[in-house]
Protein backbone atom coordinates (compact mmCIF):
# COMPACT_ATOMS: atom_id res chain seq x y z
CA UNK A 1 0.00 0.00 0.00
CA UNK A 2 2.68 2.35 1.12
CA UNK A 3 4.92 1.45 -1.76
CA UNK A 4 2.22 1.53 -4.36
CA UNK A 5 1.20 5.01 -3.24
CA UNK A 6 4.76 6.14 -3.53
CA UNK A 7 5.05 4.61 -6.98
CA UNK A 8 1.84 6.24 -8.04
CA UNK A 9 3.15 9.60 -6.97
CA UNK A 10 6.41 8.92 -8.67
CA UNK A 11 4.79 7.95 -11.90
CA UNK A 12 2.73 11.08 -11.78
CA UNK A 13 5.80 13.22 -11.24
CA UNK A 14 7.91 11.51 -13.82
CA UNK A 15 5.25 10.79 -16.37
CA UNK A 16 4.63 14.45 -16.93
CA UNK A 17 6.13 14.45 -20.38
CA UNK A 18 3.78 11.82 -21.67
CA UNK A 19 2.80 12.91 -25.14
CA UNK A 20 -0.41 10.93 -25.37
CA UNK A 21 -2.32 14.12 -26.11
CA UNK A 22 -0.05 15.18 -28.95
CA UNK A 23 -2.00 13.86 -31.86
CA UNK A 24 -0.88 16.28 -34.54
CA UNK A 25 1.56 14.71 -37.02
CA UNK A 26 3.65 17.84 -37.10
CA UNK A 27 7.39 18.15 -36.75
CA UNK A 28 8.24 16.64 -33.36
CA UNK A 29 9.82 19.08 -31.01
CA UNK A 30 8.09 22.02 -32.60
CA UNK A 31 4.98 21.58 -30.53
CA UNK A 32 5.10 23.88 -27.61
CA UNK A 33 5.26 22.29 -24.20
CA UNK A 34 2.09 23.69 -22.85
CA UNK A 35 1.94 21.43 -19.85
CA UNK A 36 4.96 22.11 -17.62
CA UNK A 37 3.12 24.61 -15.43
CA UNK A 38 0.21 22.20 -14.89
CA UNK A 39 2.61 19.41 -14.03
CA UNK A 40 4.49 21.59 -11.65
CA UNK A 41 1.29 22.27 -9.75
CA UNK A 42 0.34 18.59 -9.79
CA UNK A 43 3.78 17.66 -8.50
CA UNK A 44 3.50 20.24 -5.78
CA UNK A 45 0.08 18.94 -4.73
CA UNK A 46 1.42 15.39 -4.63
CA UNK A 47 4.36 16.54 -2.49
CA UNK A 48 2.03 18.20 -0.03
CA UNK A 49 -0.16 15.10 0.20
CA UNK A 50 2.82 12.84 0.76
CA UNK A 51 4.01 14.96 3.62
CA UNK A 52 0.56 15.18 5.15
CA UNK A 53 0.69 11.42 5.09
CA UNK A 54 3.72 11.38 7.39
CA UNK A 55 1.43 11.92 10.35
CA UNK A 56 -0.26 8.61 9.56
CA UNK A 57 3.08 6.82 9.12
CA UNK A 58 4.46 8.12 12.40
CA UNK A 59 1.25 7.21 14.22
CA UNK A 60 1.26 3.64 12.85
CA UNK A 61 4.84 3.28 13.99
CA UNK A 62 4.01 4.59 17.49
CA UNK A 63 0.83 2.54 17.96
CA UNK A 64 1.77 -0.70 16.20
CA UNK A 65 5.51 -0.55 16.88
CA UNK A 66 6.18 -1.42 13.24
CA UNK A 67 9.00 0.05 11.26
CA UNK A 68 7.99 2.95 9.02
CA UNK A 69 10.52 1.58 6.51
CA UNK A 70 14.27 1.67 6.09
CA UNK A 71 14.12 4.76 3.91
CA UNK A 72 12.70 6.66 6.87
CA UNK A 73 15.34 5.42 9.30
CA UNK A 74 18.25 6.20 7.00
CA UNK A 75 20.22 9.29 8.18
CA UNK A 76 20.02 10.53 4.61
CA UNK A 77 16.26 9.95 4.41
CA UNK A 78 15.64 13.55 3.35
CA UNK A 79 17.60 12.92 0.15
CA UNK A 80 16.10 9.50 -0.49
CA UNK A 81 12.42 10.27 -0.23
CA UNK A 82 10.53 11.06 -3.39
CA UNK A 83 9.87 14.58 -2.37
CA UNK A 84 13.56 15.18 -1.64
CA UNK A 85 14.59 13.84 -5.02
CA UNK A 86 11.87 15.71 -6.88
CA UNK A 87 12.55 18.95 -5.07
CA UNK A 88 16.24 18.70 -5.87
CA UNK A 89 15.48 18.14 -9.54
CA UNK A 90 13.20 21.20 -9.64
CA UNK A 91 15.36 23.34 -7.35
CA UNK A 92 16.26 25.82 -10.14
CA UNK A 93 12.55 26.43 -10.78
CA UNK A 94 11.90 26.97 -7.10
CA UNK A 95 14.92 29.24 -6.79
CA UNK A 96 13.63 31.33 -9.66
CA UNK A 97 10.42 31.78 -7.78
CA UNK A 98 12.02 32.52 -4.43
CA UNK A 99 15.57 31.53 -3.52
CA UNK A 100 15.24 32.17 0.20
CA UNK A 101 12.08 30.07 0.54
CA UNK A 102 13.74 27.32 -1.47
CA UNK A 103 16.57 27.17 1.05
CA UNK A 104 14.03 27.19 3.85
CA UNK A 105 12.19 24.20 2.31
CA UNK A 106 15.47 22.25 2.26
CA UNK A 107 16.23 23.07 5.90
CA UNK A 108 12.70 22.38 7.12
CA UNK A 109 12.37 19.17 5.14
CA UNK A 110 15.58 17.84 6.60
CA UNK A 111 14.57 18.84 10.13
CA UNK A 112 11.27 17.07 9.65
CA UNK A 113 12.99 13.87 8.60
CA UNK A 114 15.39 14.18 11.56
CA UNK A 115 12.49 14.45 13.98
CA UNK A 116 10.60 11.52 12.39
CA UNK A 117 13.70 9.35 12.54
CA UNK A 118 14.26 10.22 16.16
CA UNK A 119 10.63 9.50 17.10
CA UNK A 120 10.56 6.17 15.27
CA UNK A 121 13.98 5.07 16.55
CA UNK A 122 12.87 5.61 20.16
CA UNK A 123 9.59 3.78 19.63
CA UNK A 124 11.21 0.82 17.95
CA UNK A 125 13.83 0.62 20.74
CA UNK A 126 11.02 0.53 23.31
CA UNK A 127 11.90 3.99 24.67
CA UNK A 128 9.33 6.74 25.29
CA UNK A 129 9.40 9.37 22.58
CA UNK A 130 10.69 12.90 23.21
CA UNK A 131 7.99 15.53 23.21
CA UNK A 132 10.53 17.91 21.64
CA UNK A 133 10.75 15.57 18.64
CA UNK A 134 6.99 15.50 18.30
CA UNK A 135 6.84 19.30 18.51
CA UNK A 136 9.62 19.57 15.93
CA UNK A 137 7.78 17.15 13.65
CA UNK A 138 4.51 19.05 13.90
CA UNK A 139 6.16 22.44 13.43
CA UNK A 140 8.32 21.40 10.49
CA UNK A 141 5.44 19.61 8.80
CA UNK A 142 3.23 22.65 9.17
CA UNK A 143 5.92 24.98 7.91
CA UNK A 144 6.80 22.76 4.97
CA UNK A 145 3.19 22.53 3.87
CA UNK A 146 2.79 26.27 4.30
CA UNK A 147 5.90 26.96 2.19
CA UNK A 148 4.72 24.64 -0.56
CA UNK A 149 1.29 26.25 -0.52
CA UNK A 150 2.93 29.66 -0.95
CA UNK A 151 4.90 28.40 -3.92
CA UNK A 152 1.71 27.07 -5.42
CA UNK A 153 -0.03 30.41 -5.04
CA UNK A 154 2.92 32.14 -6.62
CA UNK A 155 3.03 29.75 -9.57
CA UNK A 156 -0.69 30.08 -10.15
CA UNK A 157 -0.68 33.87 -10.03
CA UNK A 158 2.30 33.99 -12.40
CA UNK A 159 0.52 31.59 -14.71
CA UNK A 160 -2.42 33.95 -14.81
CA UNK A 161 -0.15 36.78 -15.90
CA UNK A 162 1.91 34.80 -18.32
CA UNK A 163 0.90 33.58 -21.73
CA UNK A 164 1.53 29.83 -21.79
CA UNK A 165 2.09 29.69 -25.52
CA UNK A 166 4.70 32.41 -25.91
CA UNK A 167 6.00 32.74 -22.37
CA UNK A 168 5.35 36.47 -22.60
CA UNK A 169 3.57 38.44 -19.92
CA UNK A 170 -0.07 39.21 -20.71
CA UNK A 171 -1.77 42.59 -20.58
CA UNK A 172 -2.52 42.21 -16.87
CA UNK A 173 -0.28 44.69 -15.05
CA UNK A 174 0.67 46.64 -18.16
CA UNK A 175 -0.74 49.88 -16.71
CA UNK A 176 1.70 49.69 -13.78
CA UNK A 177 4.55 48.87 -16.13
CA UNK A 178 3.65 51.86 -18.28
CA UNK A 179 3.64 54.16 -15.23
CA UNK A 180 7.06 52.80 -14.29
CA UNK A 181 8.31 53.55 -17.80
CA UNK A 182 6.83 57.06 -17.63
CA UNK A 183 8.77 57.68 -14.41
CA UNK A 184 11.99 56.39 -15.96
CA UNK A 185 11.39 58.54 -19.00
CA UNK A 186 11.00 61.66 -16.88
CA UNK A 187 13.90 60.88 -14.55
CA UNK A 188 16.42 60.13 -17.28
CA UNK A 189 15.07 62.56 -19.86
CA UNK A 190 14.29 59.80 -22.36
CA UNK A 191 11.62 59.23 -24.97
CA UNK A 192 8.93 56.63 -24.35
CA UNK A 193 7.36 54.77 -27.25
CA UNK A 194 4.42 52.41 -27.24
CA UNK A 195 4.23 50.03 -30.19
CA UNK A 196 1.45 47.75 -31.34
CA UNK A 197 2.83 44.80 -33.26
CA UNK A 198 0.65 42.51 -35.32
CA UNK A 199 1.61 39.44 -37.36
CA UNK A 200 0.67 39.96 -41.01
CA UNK A 201 -1.82 37.58 -42.65
CA UNK A 202 -1.94 35.46 -39.52
CA UNK A 203 -5.50 34.38 -40.20
CA UNK A 204 -4.34 32.96 -43.51
CA UNK A 205 -1.69 30.88 -41.70
CA UNK A 206 -4.37 29.46 -39.40
CA UNK A 207 -6.82 28.86 -42.24
CA UNK A 208 -4.24 27.25 -44.51
CA UNK A 209 -2.25 25.14 -42.09
CA UNK A 210 -4.51 24.82 -39.07
CA UNK A 211 -4.30 26.19 -35.54
CA UNK A 212 -1.43 23.98 -34.30
CA UNK A 213 0.79 25.49 -36.99
CA UNK A 214 -0.66 28.91 -36.16
CA UNK A 215 0.54 28.35 -32.59
CA UNK A 216 4.00 27.41 -33.82
CA UNK A 217 4.12 30.54 -35.93
CA UNK A 218 2.94 32.68 -33.07
CA UNK A 219 5.50 31.29 -30.69
CA UNK A 220 8.22 31.65 -33.30
CA UNK A 221 7.44 35.33 -33.87
CA UNK A 222 7.28 35.93 -30.12
CA UNK A 223 10.68 34.25 -29.70
CA UNK A 224 12.18 36.25 -32.55
CA UNK A 225 10.88 39.50 -31.12
CA UNK A 226 12.12 38.55 -27.63
CA UNK A 227 15.60 37.77 -28.91
CA UNK A 228 15.81 41.16 -30.58
CA UNK A 229 14.59 43.34 -27.75
CA UNK A 230 16.94 45.67 -25.98
CA UNK A 231 17.54 45.25 -22.26
CA UNK A 232 14.75 47.44 -20.95
CA UNK A 233 12.13 46.85 -23.62
CA UNK A 234 8.96 45.19 -22.37
CA UNK A 235 6.97 42.99 -24.71
CA UNK A 236 3.48 41.81 -23.82
CA UNK A 237 1.11 39.53 -25.65
CA UNK A 238 -2.19 41.33 -25.90
CA UNK A 239 -4.05 38.36 -27.30
CA UNK A 240 -4.49 36.83 -30.72
CA UNK A 241 -1.53 37.70 -32.91
CA UNK A 242 -1.05 41.11 -31.33
CA UNK A 243 1.75 42.31 -29.09
CA UNK A 244 2.45 45.51 -27.23
CA UNK A 245 5.93 46.91 -26.75
CA UNK A 246 7.11 49.58 -24.32
CA UNK A 247 10.37 51.09 -25.42
CA UNK A 248 12.58 53.79 -23.94
CA UNK A 249 15.07 55.56 -26.18
CA UNK A 250 17.60 58.38 -26.00
CA UNK A 251 16.57 59.68 -29.40
CA UNK A 252 14.11 59.07 -32.23
CA UNK A 253 16.98 57.47 -34.20
CA UNK A 254 17.49 54.92 -31.47
CA UNK A 255 13.81 54.09 -31.52
CA UNK A 256 13.73 53.72 -35.31
CA UNK A 257 16.81 51.50 -35.20
CA UNK A 258 15.24 49.30 -32.51
CA UNK A 259 11.97 49.03 -34.45
CA UNK A 260 13.76 48.30 -37.73
CA UNK A 261 15.64 45.52 -36.00
CA UNK A 262 12.41 43.85 -34.89
CA UNK A 263 10.70 44.13 -38.27
CA UNK A 264 13.77 42.87 -40.12
CA UNK A 265 14.42 40.06 -37.65
CA UNK A 266 10.94 38.61 -38.14
CA UNK A 267 11.15 38.85 -41.93
CA UNK A 268 14.55 37.20 -42.08
CA UNK A 269 13.73 34.30 -39.74
CA UNK A 270 11.33 31.94 -41.50
CA UNK A 271 9.58 29.38 -39.33
CA UNK A 272 9.88 25.68 -40.07
CA UNK A 273 6.46 24.06 -39.94
CA UNK A 274 7.35 20.63 -41.30
CA UNK A 275 10.39 18.80 -42.65
CA UNK A 276 10.20 20.56 -45.98
CA UNK A 277 8.06 23.64 -45.44
CA UNK A 278 8.96 26.95 -43.97
CA UNK A 279 6.95 30.13 -43.78
CA UNK A 280 8.26 33.66 -43.99
CA UNK A 281 6.28 35.82 -41.63
CA UNK A 282 6.23 39.58 -41.31
CA UNK A 283 4.87 41.99 -38.75
CA UNK A 284 3.51 45.51 -38.93
CA UNK A 285 4.25 47.93 -36.13
CA UNK A 286 2.35 51.08 -35.22
CA UNK A 287 4.38 53.28 -32.90
CA UNK A 288 3.41 56.33 -30.86
CA UNK A 289 5.64 58.47 -28.71
CA UNK A 290 3.99 58.94 -25.33
CA UNK A 291 3.71 62.54 -24.26
CA UNK A 292 4.07 63.60 -20.62
CA UNK A 293 1.24 62.25 -18.51
CA UNK A 294 -0.52 60.71 -21.49
CA UNK A 295 -2.79 57.84 -20.48
CA UNK A 296 -1.75 54.43 -21.75
CA UNK A 297 -5.12 53.97 -23.45
CA UNK A 298 -4.61 57.16 -25.46
CA UNK A 299 -1.10 56.20 -26.60
CA UNK A 300 -2.29 52.72 -27.54
CA UNK A 301 -5.14 54.21 -29.56
CA UNK A 302 -2.66 56.32 -31.55
CA UNK A 303 -0.27 53.41 -32.05
CA UNK A 304 -3.19 51.24 -33.11
CA UNK A 305 -4.29 53.75 -35.75
CA UNK A 306 -0.77 53.71 -37.18
CA UNK A 307 -0.80 49.92 -37.16
CA UNK A 308 -4.07 49.92 -39.05
CA UNK A 309 -2.69 52.41 -41.53
CA UNK A 310 0.40 50.24 -42.03
CA UNK A 311 -1.75 47.18 -42.63
CA UNK A 312 -3.74 48.97 -45.28
CA UNK A 313 -0.75 50.48 -47.01
CA UNK A 314 1.12 47.21 -47.45
CA UNK A 315 2.21 45.64 -44.09
CA UNK A 316 5.75 44.63 -43.10
CA UNK A 317 6.64 48.14 -41.98
CA UNK A 318 6.74 50.35 -38.91
CA UNK A 319 4.74 53.52 -38.78
CA UNK A 320 5.23 56.40 -36.40
CA UNK A 321 1.98 58.04 -35.38
CA UNK A 322 1.57 61.42 -36.97
CA UNK A 323 -0.91 64.21 -36.45
Amino acid sequence: MERSFAIEIKSEWQGSNSDSDMKQPIEPGLITELQPMDNFIRELDAAVETHMDWTRRVMRCAVLHTSPGNDVLDPMAHTLCHFGRWFKSRAPDFENLNARKTQRVIVVHRAMHDSIRSICANVLAGRPGESADLDAFEQTQTELIKLLAEFKTQVLSTAARQDQLTGLPMRFGIEQEYLKFQKLRARHNLLLYVAMIDIDHFKKVNDTYGHPVGDIALRHVADTLKRNLRDNDTLVRLGGEEFLLLMLADSPEESTAASARLINAVRSAPVKISQDTQLTLTVTMGIARATDDEQLGAVIARADRSLYEGKRAGRDRYIYAHG
Binding site: S251, P252, E253, T256, S259, A260, I263, N264, S306, E309, G310, R312, A313, G314, D316, R317, Y318, I319, Y320, H322, G323
Partner: protein, 238 residues
Amino acid sequence: MKMNDMLIADPETRLVVNEGEILDQLLQLQDATVLELGCGKAEKTRIVAKQAASVLALEVDEIQLAKNLAVTDLPNVRFAHGGAEEIPAPDANFDIVLMFKSLHHVPTGLMDRAFAEIRRVLKPGGVAYISEPVYAGEFNEVLKLFHDEQAVREAAFAAEKRAVASGQLALAGQKFFMQPMHFSDFAQFEEQVLKVTHTEHKLSDETYQKVHSRFNGYMAADGATFHMPIRVDLLKKQ
Protein backbone atom coordinates in the same frame (compact mmCIF):
# COMPACT_ATOMS: atom_id res chain seq x y z
CA MET B 1 30.22 57.70 -47.28
CA LYS B 2 31.52 57.58 -50.83
CA MET B 3 29.80 58.63 -54.01
CA ASN B 4 29.75 55.03 -55.18
CA ASP B 5 27.64 54.10 -52.17
CA MET B 6 24.97 56.57 -53.18
CA LEU B 7 21.67 54.83 -53.85
CA ILE B 8 18.70 56.09 -55.84
CA ALA B 9 16.34 53.79 -53.96
CA ASP B 10 16.28 51.36 -51.08
CA PRO B 11 13.55 48.73 -51.54
CA GLU B 12 14.25 47.51 -47.99
CA THR B 13 12.88 50.69 -46.43
CA ARG B 14 10.20 49.92 -43.84
CA LEU B 15 10.12 53.13 -41.84
CA VAL B 16 6.99 55.23 -42.20
CA VAL B 17 7.26 58.65 -40.65
CA ASN B 18 6.49 62.30 -41.32
CA GLU B 19 9.37 64.18 -42.84
CA GLY B 20 9.41 66.58 -39.90
CA GLU B 21 10.84 63.75 -37.77
CA ILE B 22 13.56 63.08 -40.33
CA LEU B 23 14.46 66.77 -40.38
CA ASP B 24 14.84 66.70 -36.60
CA GLN B 25 17.00 63.61 -36.81
CA LEU B 26 19.35 64.81 -39.52
CA LEU B 27 19.68 68.55 -39.04
CA GLN B 28 20.51 71.10 -36.39
CA LEU B 29 17.82 73.60 -37.29
CA GLN B 30 17.98 75.49 -34.03
CA ASP B 31 19.04 79.09 -34.70
CA ALA B 32 20.24 78.16 -38.18
CA THR B 33 20.15 80.44 -41.20
CA VAL B 34 18.11 78.48 -43.74
CA LEU B 35 17.36 78.65 -47.44
CA GLU B 36 14.46 76.65 -48.84
CA LEU B 37 14.36 76.14 -52.58
CA GLY B 38 10.92 75.48 -54.04
CA CYS B 39 8.85 76.00 -50.91
CA GLY B 40 5.49 75.41 -52.62
CA LYS B 41 2.66 75.91 -50.15
CA ALA B 42 5.19 76.54 -47.39
CA GLU B 43 4.03 73.58 -45.32
CA LYS B 44 7.57 72.51 -44.43
CA THR B 45 8.62 76.15 -44.15
CA ARG B 46 6.31 76.47 -41.17
CA ILE B 47 7.91 73.52 -39.42
CA VAL B 48 11.44 74.76 -40.11
CA ALA B 49 10.62 78.34 -39.05
CA LYS B 50 9.77 77.16 -35.55
CA GLN B 51 13.43 76.45 -34.86
CA ALA B 52 15.48 78.34 -37.44
CA ALA B 53 16.74 81.85 -36.89
CA SER B 54 15.65 82.86 -40.37
CA VAL B 55 14.33 81.24 -43.53
CA LEU B 56 14.54 82.53 -47.08
CA ALA B 57 11.85 80.56 -48.92
CA LEU B 58 12.06 80.70 -52.71
CA GLU B 59 9.43 79.66 -55.24
CA VAL B 60 9.36 79.98 -59.02
CA ASP B 61 5.62 79.49 -59.38
CA GLU B 62 4.19 83.00 -59.39
CA ILE B 63 0.69 81.98 -58.37
CA GLN B 64 1.93 80.11 -55.32
CA LEU B 65 4.42 82.87 -54.50
CA ALA B 66 1.62 85.42 -54.46
CA LYS B 67 -0.22 83.29 -51.90
CA ASN B 68 2.93 82.89 -49.82
CA LEU B 69 3.56 86.61 -49.80
CA ALA B 70 0.18 87.07 -48.18
CA VAL B 71 1.29 85.00 -45.17
CA THR B 72 1.64 87.23 -42.12
CA ASP B 73 2.28 84.86 -39.23
CA LEU B 74 5.86 83.83 -40.08
CA PRO B 75 8.01 86.81 -39.06
CA ASN B 76 11.34 85.00 -39.51
CA VAL B 77 10.49 83.83 -43.02
CA ARG B 78 11.04 85.88 -46.16
CA PHE B 79 9.28 84.61 -49.29
CA ALA B 80 10.79 85.58 -52.63
CA HIS B 81 10.91 84.61 -56.27
CA GLY B 82 13.87 82.53 -57.33
CA GLY B 83 15.02 79.24 -58.78
CA ALA B 84 17.80 76.99 -57.54
CA GLU B 85 19.89 77.83 -60.61
CA GLU B 86 20.05 81.49 -59.67
CA ILE B 87 19.75 82.09 -55.99
CA PRO B 88 19.19 85.71 -54.97
CA ALA B 89 21.54 85.61 -51.98
CA PRO B 90 25.17 86.42 -51.22
CA ASP B 91 27.96 83.81 -51.03
CA ALA B 92 28.43 81.71 -47.88
CA ASN B 93 25.18 82.93 -46.39
CA PHE B 94 23.34 79.82 -45.14
CA ASP B 95 23.93 77.03 -42.65
CA ILE B 96 21.33 74.83 -44.31
CA VAL B 97 19.79 74.60 -47.78
CA LEU B 98 16.57 72.61 -48.05
CA MET B 99 14.91 71.10 -51.12
CA PHE B 100 11.75 69.13 -50.40
CA LYS B 101 10.87 67.14 -53.52
CA SER B 102 11.77 70.14 -55.64
CA LEU B 103 15.08 69.18 -57.26
CA HIS B 104 13.36 67.16 -59.99
CA HIS B 105 11.28 70.23 -60.85
CA VAL B 106 14.42 72.18 -61.75
CA PRO B 107 14.84 72.09 -65.53
CA THR B 108 17.23 69.24 -66.26
CA GLY B 109 19.69 71.48 -68.09
CA LEU B 110 19.94 73.76 -65.06
CA MET B 111 20.52 71.15 -62.39
CA ASP B 112 24.32 71.41 -62.44
CA ARG B 113 24.06 75.16 -62.11
CA ALA B 114 21.72 74.67 -59.20
CA PHE B 115 24.39 72.68 -57.35
CA ALA B 116 27.02 75.30 -58.11
CA GLU B 117 24.64 77.87 -56.65
CA ILE B 118 23.91 75.77 -53.58
CA ARG B 119 27.62 75.40 -52.96
CA ARG B 120 28.11 79.14 -53.41
CA VAL B 121 25.47 80.20 -50.89
CA LEU B 122 26.32 77.58 -48.25
CA LYS B 123 28.71 78.52 -45.49
CA PRO B 124 31.72 76.22 -45.20
CA GLY B 125 30.55 73.21 -43.20
CA GLY B 126 26.96 73.94 -44.18
CA VAL B 127 24.66 71.16 -45.46
CA ALA B 128 22.17 70.72 -48.25
CA TYR B 129 19.19 68.50 -47.35
CA ILE B 130 17.67 67.19 -50.53
CA SER B 131 14.62 64.94 -50.35
CA GLU B 132 13.34 63.30 -53.51
CA PRO B 133 10.47 60.88 -54.11
CA VAL B 134 11.66 57.42 -55.06
CA TYR B 135 10.17 56.08 -58.27
CA ALA B 136 8.29 53.22 -56.64
CA GLY B 137 5.25 52.52 -54.51
CA GLU B 138 1.52 52.59 -54.93
CA PHE B 139 1.11 56.35 -55.08
CA ASN B 140 3.54 56.38 -57.99
CA GLU B 141 1.37 53.78 -59.70
CA VAL B 142 -1.45 56.32 -59.75
CA LEU B 143 0.72 59.37 -60.47
CA LYS B 144 2.60 57.90 -63.39
CA LEU B 145 -0.61 57.36 -65.33
CA PHE B 146 -0.71 61.08 -66.06
CA HIS B 147 2.63 62.39 -64.81
CA ASP B 148 5.54 60.02 -65.17
CA GLU B 149 8.50 61.55 -63.40
CA GLN B 150 10.97 58.73 -63.94
CA ALA B 151 13.23 60.68 -66.31
CA VAL B 152 13.36 63.89 -64.26
CA ARG B 153 13.88 62.04 -61.02
CA GLU B 154 16.74 60.07 -62.51
CA ALA B 155 18.19 63.28 -63.92
CA ALA B 156 17.97 64.87 -60.47
CA PHE B 157 19.82 61.93 -58.90
CA ALA B 158 22.45 62.02 -61.65
CA ALA B 159 23.01 65.73 -60.98
CA GLU B 160 23.48 65.01 -57.27
CA LYS B 161 26.02 62.34 -58.10
CA ARG B 162 27.89 64.73 -60.35
CA ALA B 163 27.96 67.36 -57.62
CA VAL B 164 29.50 64.80 -55.31
CA ALA B 165 31.84 63.27 -57.91
CA SER B 166 33.20 66.69 -58.85
CA GLY B 167 33.94 67.45 -55.21
CA GLN B 168 31.59 70.44 -55.09
CA LEU B 169 29.71 68.84 -52.22
CA ALA B 170 30.49 65.80 -50.10
CA LEU B 171 27.96 63.07 -49.41
CA ALA B 172 27.37 63.18 -45.65
CA GLY B 173 24.62 60.56 -45.57
CA GLN B 174 21.45 59.12 -47.04
CA LYS B 175 18.20 58.26 -45.36
CA PHE B 176 15.23 56.40 -46.81
CA PHE B 177 11.75 56.46 -45.38
CA MET B 178 8.12 56.41 -46.43
CA GLN B 179 5.95 59.48 -46.23
CA PRO B 180 2.36 58.74 -45.23
CA MET B 181 -0.29 60.36 -47.42
CA HIS B 182 -4.02 60.17 -46.97
CA PHE B 183 -6.88 61.22 -49.19
CA SER B 184 -10.39 60.90 -47.87
CA ASP B 185 -11.72 60.54 -51.42
CA PHE B 186 -10.90 61.06 -55.07
CA ALA B 187 -12.11 64.65 -54.92
CA GLN B 188 -9.39 65.44 -52.40
CA PHE B 189 -6.76 63.72 -54.56
CA GLU B 190 -7.95 65.77 -57.52
CA GLU B 191 -7.72 68.99 -55.56
CA GLN B 192 -4.29 68.35 -54.08
CA VAL B 193 -2.53 66.45 -56.84
CA LEU B 194 -4.22 67.09 -60.15
CA LYS B 195 -4.78 70.80 -59.64
CA VAL B 196 -1.38 71.90 -58.34
CA THR B 197 -0.42 75.22 -59.83
CA HIS B 198 3.23 74.44 -60.62
CA THR B 199 2.37 71.77 -63.17
CA GLU B 200 -0.57 71.85 -65.48
CA HIS B 201 -2.06 68.40 -65.73
CA LYS B 202 -4.32 68.04 -68.72
CA LEU B 203 -5.87 64.61 -68.62
CA SER B 204 -7.82 63.14 -71.46
CA ASP B 205 -11.15 61.64 -70.47
CA GLU B 206 -9.66 58.20 -70.89
CA THR B 207 -6.64 58.93 -68.68
CA TYR B 208 -8.85 60.60 -66.09
CA GLN B 209 -10.96 57.47 -66.01
CA LYS B 210 -7.89 55.28 -65.57
CA VAL B 211 -6.53 57.44 -62.76
CA HIS B 212 -9.90 57.43 -61.07
CA SER B 213 -10.24 53.68 -61.21
CA ARG B 214 -6.67 52.94 -60.10
CA PHE B 215 -7.05 55.38 -57.22
CA ASN B 216 -10.29 53.68 -56.24
CA GLY B 217 -8.41 50.41 -56.03
CA TYR B 218 -6.70 51.84 -52.95
CA MET B 219 -9.84 53.22 -51.35
CA ALA B 220 -11.05 51.81 -48.06
CA ALA B 221 -13.99 52.90 -45.94
CA ASP B 222 -12.16 55.95 -44.65
CA GLY B 223 -10.15 56.89 -47.71
CA ALA B 224 -6.93 55.94 -49.44
CA THR B 225 -3.61 55.74 -47.61
CA PHE B 226 -0.28 55.65 -49.40
CA HIS B 227 3.24 55.32 -48.10
CA MET B 228 5.43 57.13 -50.58
CA PRO B 229 9.12 56.15 -50.51
CA ILE B 230 11.43 59.12 -50.14
CA ARG B 231 15.20 59.47 -50.35
CA VAL B 232 17.07 62.13 -48.40
CA ASP B 233 20.60 63.03 -49.42
CA LEU B 234 22.71 65.14 -47.10
CA LEU B 235 25.42 66.99 -48.99
CA LYS B 236 28.04 69.00 -47.18
CA LYS B 237 30.17 71.94 -48.26
CA GLN B 238 33.62 71.23 -46.94
